[in-house]
C-alpha cells in the first residue's frame, strides 16, 4: 500500500536541507478504509498554510515549516523542543487516485485522505479485418 521510505525525508535522499535548522521526522499513523488510505501526521506548531504536500511520480512528500517557537525577548529556562521543520516521504502504490487526495490540518495534525483508484473496467479491443 504505502511504504515509508527508508531515508529520513527529502534531506536523506541525497540533497541537503538548504536552511540551517533541524528537520524532524513527524510521527504518523496510516490506516485503511474500504475506499481510502488515511494518513495522520503530527506536526505541532505548524500552521495550515505552512504545510506543503507534494506528489511526484507516486512519491508523496509532506513538509511542515514550524514557526520559530522560541519566544522573542524571553530567556529560556527549560527547552525540550527546538524549532525546526518536519519532513516525511512516502511511496504510494499504483492503486491511489492521485487526483482525489485531500489534506486537512487541524490542531497540529495533518490528515491526508488518499482515495483508492477504482479498477478500470476491462476493455476489449476489437480487431478489425484489414
Amino acid at each position: 500500500m504505502v511504504d515509508t521510505s527508508t531515508s529520513a525525508g527529502g534531506a536523506g535522499r541525497g540533497a541537503e536541507a538548504t536552511r540551517n535548522r533541524p528537520v524532524y521526522t513527524p510521527a504518523a499513523d496510516i490506516h485503511e478504509t474500504e475506499d481510502a488510505l488515511v494518513l495522520l501526521v503530527e506536526m505541532p506548531g505548524v500552521r495550515p498554510d505552512q504545510v506543503e504536500v507534494g506528489l511526484d511520480k507516486r512519491v508523496l512528500t509532506i513538509t511542515g515549516h514550524a514557526a520559530a517557537r522560541r519566544h522573542e525577548g524571553y530567556s529560556l529556562a527549560v527547552c525540550e523542543y527546538r524549532p525546526g521543520d518536519f519532513e516525511r516521504v512516502f511511496t504510494l502504490s499504483d492503486m491511489i487516485d492521485e487526483g482525489g487526495i485531500e489534506a486537512l490540518m487541524k490542531d497540529g495534525v495533518l490528515r491526508l485522505t488518499l482515495p483508492k483508484a477504482k479498477a478500470e473496467p476491462a476493455r476489449t479491443i476489437k480487431v478489425k479485418v484489414g
Binding site: 515509508t4 524532524y24 499513523d29 524571553y74 527546538r82
Partner: protein
C-alpha cells in the same frame, strides 16, 4: 553556539532532530541519528516509534521561557482539542493534564503504520515565586499550548540589583 550543544549529558530530553544544527559536532550527531532512525524504520514491528517523540509517561515536551514580567510555558500537544486539556495552578505548581483520544473510527481499522500514542498524561511544572495566579491565561493553537503567567507587581519591584564591589 550553545554550550549545551557540546554537552550531550545536559541536552534536553526531547526528541533529537534528524538533520540540521549549527555546530559541526551537532551536525555529525544529527547525521548519525538520521542513519540510525532510518535503520530502525526498516525493522518491521519496531516501527519508527523509537525515532519519534515519546508522548505518554513522560508527558508532552515543554518549553519554559521568562522575562522580567512574565513566564511562558508552551507544550506540544498535537491532536488534542481545547476541551481535552486541563490546566491548573496549585500554589506554585502548574499542572497540564489531558487525554489524547484516538478517533472512534481509528480503533477498528486496518493499520499499516501506527506511531502516534494516545492516552492520558499529566505534567507538573514548578513556577518561580511571585506569580500572579489570578491572571494566568492559556491558549491552544496548532497543537501547541501556551500558558502565560504574569509576575506580581511586588515580585517585579523586589528584584533588587546588588552592586558587586571590588576589594
Amino acid at each position: 553556539m550553545d554550550i549545551r550543544d557540546l554537552m550531550p549529558w545536559v541536552a534536553p530530553r526531547g526528541a533529537e532532530p534528524v538533520a540540521g544544527g549549527e555546530h559541526p559536532l551537532r551536525t555529525l550527531q544529527d547525521e548519525l541519528n538520521r542513519v540510525f532512525d532510518s535503520l530502525v524504520r526498516t525493522i518491521p514491528g519496531a516501527g519508527a516509534a523509537a525515532a519519534v517523540a515519546p508522548f505518554l509517561g513522560e508527558g508532552p515536551r515543554i518549553d519554559v521561557a521568562e522575562t522580567e514580567t512574565e513566564v511562558k510555558v508552551s507544550a506540544e500537544l498535537p491532536g488534542l482539542e481545547e476541551k481535552d486539556i486541563e490546566v491548573s495552578l496549585s500554589g506554585h505548581l502548574l499542572t497540564i493534564k489531558g487525554e489524547k483520544k484516538a478517533e472512534a473510527e481509528q480503533q477498528l481499522l486496518n493499520y499499516h503504520v501506527n506511531e502516534r500514542v494516545f492516552g492520558a498524561f499529566s505534567r507538573s511544572i514548578p513556577l518561580p515565586a511571585g506569580i500572579d495566579a489570578d491572571a494566568v491565561t492559556a491558549a491552544f493553537r496548532n497543537g501547541v499550548l501556551t500558558i502565560t503567567v504574569p509576575k506580581t507587581q511586588e515580585a517585579v519591584k523586589e528584584a533588587k540589583r546588588i552592586a558587586v564591589k571590588a576589594d
